[in-house]
């Protein structure tokens, strides 16, 4: 991500107003590529800066953004060559590449190449021979979709994603928006997040031999992940086996996260597109470089942050709906936690999930906001007429209806529903979410947390003060009681003395009289 920022700075100076417009497609391509993001302060600092696609382009270039109506079957996306359980692919790859070259291309190229040089030192680059082999294998499967893929274009992309992203960013951005051809999806995802790492794969093999304290919890959820997907229904099949392996390995790799419900859905989506050791590497990259990890840590700090950001976005971009939700008592955590924790893979149709992931992997996890907001925007009118429970029900089961079309089932694909995925992706890009907004909200949230902490600390110290004061009061009361008792004794003694005195006096008087 350091490269993104460099690039962004470079463009801002020549054309201040246009910079945001031009930035979008390029930024979407720059994936977090550092191998050690957690230790690199620069990256941590800049993570929020440039990963979300700027969307101003939509208004300036309506022609380019015209949605391509494309219907995709529910089961699309299985990688024929890599997964034996694959099903028919109806996923077209009509858009082999855009045409308008970016005006800032040269600048980005320079920034990118520089970054590339740094990278090649830290990570062993994937040999082009390997890639070539993968590509050939995919090509040879000769399924229906393979013939429609622009092999020249995607071949170049796969061969060296980072370089291609730098050279032909605009083109690649357009192509990713239009969807990665499903046989290539697994390969490209790995390239996008630069996950290929033989050392990590070796570590994975090592983990499989060890035992994890989370194995029971993992096993419990295996049959409950995509229970209706053929690849995962068989309790002793490859699907559940791989799912178990990757989850177990991850729980050993990252004991702090260990195992968390929601994670199997993320892993399952990966496994539907690549073999298990590669899925493990991508998972590690997603967790650490894309900060998915904070979603699954105890207390789920990043999830809380994202829900806060989402609330603020809602307030900013859909103020009427925001107020409606407030009045109805609908909190974003009631529906968002599912979306965000599983990156929309929880009960959503895979063709849509894959396209969201394409964009998340290309441009950063913040892409989820675009999709969430676009969805609410599209359904705003319907939602405004609903009450609390209806809203939640709608969000759970009808929210995607607006992008669903009925269609005639074909022979190879019996499903009767297709999805206007392209339209959805375009709508997501049209939302006016900028990194600057997200940044500001993140700061607000940090302030809020700080205030909350300060408040809690104050409460704590007050409580402590109160406790010690109470103790003091008790002590004083005790000594007061003691004094009271002593006082009583003294008074009693005094009275006795007086009595004695009086007696003595009367005695004296009597003697005097005598």
């Amino acid at each position: 991500m350091t490269a993104d920022v460099t690039a962004a700075r470079m463009t801002e100076s020549p054309e201040d107003t246009d910079a945001r417009v031009e930035l979008r497609p390029l930024e979407t391509l720059m994936s977090p590529t550092s191998s050690e993001p957690a230790t690199d302060l620069d990256i941590v600092d800049d993570a929020r800066f440039s990963v979300v696609p700027l969307s101003a382009a939509s208004s300036d270039t309506p022609d380019e953004m015209t949605p391509i109506e494309e219907t995709v079957d529910i089961t699309a996306g299985l990688n024929e060559s890599r997964q034996p359980q694959s099903e028919a692919n109806g996923h077209g790859a009509e858009n082999g590449g855009g045409s308008t070259p970016s005006r800032n291309g040269a600048q980005f190229l320079l920034a990118r190449l520089e970054h590339q040089k740094e990278r090649s030192d830290t990570l062993p680059a994937r040999s082009s021979l390997d890639v070539q082999k993968d590509l050939e294998r995919v090509q040879q499967t000769g399924d229906a979709e393979a013939s429609t893929i622009d092999w020249d274009f995607w071949g170049e992309v796969v061969a060296d994603y980072q370089t291609y992203a730098a050279d032909h960013s605009e083109q690649l951005a357009r192509a990713i928006e239009a969807g990665i051809p499903s046989p290539l999806r697994g390969l490209i995802w790995q390239q996008m997040c630069a996950s290929k790492d033989p050392a990590l794969e070796q570590l994975y093999a090592q983990y499989l031999k060890e035992t994890s304290p989370h194995e029971r919890a993992i096993k419990r959820d295996l049959g409950r992940t995509f229970p209706n997907h053929a690849f995962f229904t068989d309790g002793s099949g490859v699907g559940q086996g791989n799912l178990s392996n990757v989850l177990k390995a991850y729980s050993l790799h990252d004991p702090e996260v260990g195992y968390c419900q929601g994670l199997p859905f993320v892993v399952a989506v990966l496994l539907l597109n690549m073999p298990d050791e590669e899925a493990f590497c991508v998972l590690v990259r997603l967790m650490y470089s894309y900060d998915l990890r904070g979603h699954f840590l105890p207390e789920m700090p990043s999830l809380q942050l994202r829900m806060f950001q989402f609330d603020r976005l809602l307030e900013e971009l859909l103020p009427v709906l925001h107020v409606h939700f407030l009045r109805q008592g609908v909190k974003s955590s009631m529906f968002c936690s599912q979306w965000f924790l599983t990156l929309f893979s929880y009960r959503w149709p895979l063709p849509i999930v894959y396209r969201i992931w394409d964009n998340c992997l290309a441009s950063g996890i913040e892409a989820i906001f675009g999709f969430s907001i676009a969805l609410l925007l599209k359904n705003e009118e319907a939602l405004l007429n609903l009450k609390f429970d209806q809203i939640l029900d709608f969000l759970k089961s009808k929210i995607l209806d607006c992008y669903t079309v009925k269609r005639e089932p074909t022979e190879e694909d019996p499903s009767t529903e297709g999805y206007l995925v392209d339209e959805f992706v375009m709508d997501a890009f049209r939302t006016r979410i900028t990194p600057f907004m997200l940044d500001a909200y993140a700061r607000e949230y940090a302030d809020l947390l700080q205030a909350r902490e300060a408040h809690a600390a104050e409460m704590d110290s007050l409580r402590n003060a109160n406790r010690s004061l109470t103790a003091q009061v008790k002590k004083l009361e005790d000594s007061l009681a003691q004094l009271d008792r002593e006082h009583c004794d003294i008074v009693k003694e005094l009275v006795m003395q007086r009595i004695t005195n009086e007696e003595l006096e009367t005695e004296l008087v009597r003697y005097k009289l005598l």
């Binding site: 919890a217 959820d221 419900q261 929601g262 909190k331 599912q338 209806q390």
Partner: protein
């Protein structure tokens, strides 16, 4: 959420929350109650799910607004939001997993400490179908209720006939859980979301124990004007008629 009450006509809102360890069958219990269905491999609940079900109790219509929460410890921090205003809670454990009762106990403790002080808590030992034939049960139950339910059409015979899966040995004796429930002042049931056993009884007894006048008073105060308890004729379909099972209170304890 005050406004939400207005969405249902002429029924009494009862907010209910389900708590318990992961994979004890919370969502399945709700699904059985709400749509009389059972799914063998249900996805784990992520975050929480909201469902509603109307039921009739004597001359009143109750509308359960149910928050079904995620069971894994990691999601614990989200739970207070859901039980804060609840009038009833069902704490579920798995009769084949002893540790799940411990977790249930800690939920009960948390509820008694932090939830609404008038909350009605029910303890439900789920998955009793797995042990019904096993001898381990000290006082094995004879409830067989799924046939009595008014709208049984959705439960397929195949689901009901599905053989119990392997690890079916009882790990929590009924007496032990019952004793704990009595001591802690909870309603207690053994249930099976799979066969439907005990589910309707569970929600019926909760309904009986809910301080309805109290709720009516509070909702009226909240601005939602609803003539309390007027029996409406519009709840013909999909509702559970709690009275249907009332003739057989069976093992229902301290209510």
């Amino acid at each position: 959420m005050a406004d939400a009450a207005a969405s249902a006509d002429k029924s009494i809102q009862v907010k209910l929350v389900l708590l318990g360890e992961a994979a004890v069958g919370k969502s399945s219990v709700v699904l059985r109650f709400v749509s009389n269905e059972f799914q063998a491999n249900k996805e784990p609940t992520i975050g929480a799910a909201f469902l509603t079900q109307k039921c009739r109790l004597e001359d009143r219509v109750l509308r359960y607004e149910i928050w079904d929460t995620a069971g894994q410890e990691r999601f614990h921090s989200l739970a207070p939001m859901y039980y804060r205003n609840a009038q009833a809670a069902v704490v579920v454990y798995d009769v084949t997993k002893a540790a799940s009762l411990d977790k249930a106990k800690s939920w009960v403790k948390e509820l008694q400490r932090q939830a609404n002080p008038h909350i009605v808590i029910a303890l439900a030992g789920n998955k009793v179908d797995l042990v019904n034939n096993a001898a381990a049960s000290s006082s094995s139950t004879t409830e067989e209720t799924s046939e009595d339910e008014p709208d049984d059409a959705t439960a397929t015979p195949a689901e009901l006939a599905q053989a119990a899966s392997g690890d079916g040995l009882r790990a929590v004796a009924r007496d032990e859980a019952q004793a704990y429930a009595t001591e802690a002042g909870l309603l207690f049931f053994e249930t099976s979301a799979k066969t439907g056993e005990g589910i309707v009884e569970l929600f019926t007894e909760i309904a009986k124990k809910i301080p309805i006048e109290h709720i009516l008073a509070s909702t009226r105060g909240g601005g939602a004007n609803r003539p309390g308890g007027a029996a409406s004729g519009s709840n013909a379909q999909g509702n559970v008629n709690l009275d249907a099972n009332n003739q057989t209170p069976k093992n229902a304890c301290n209510c």
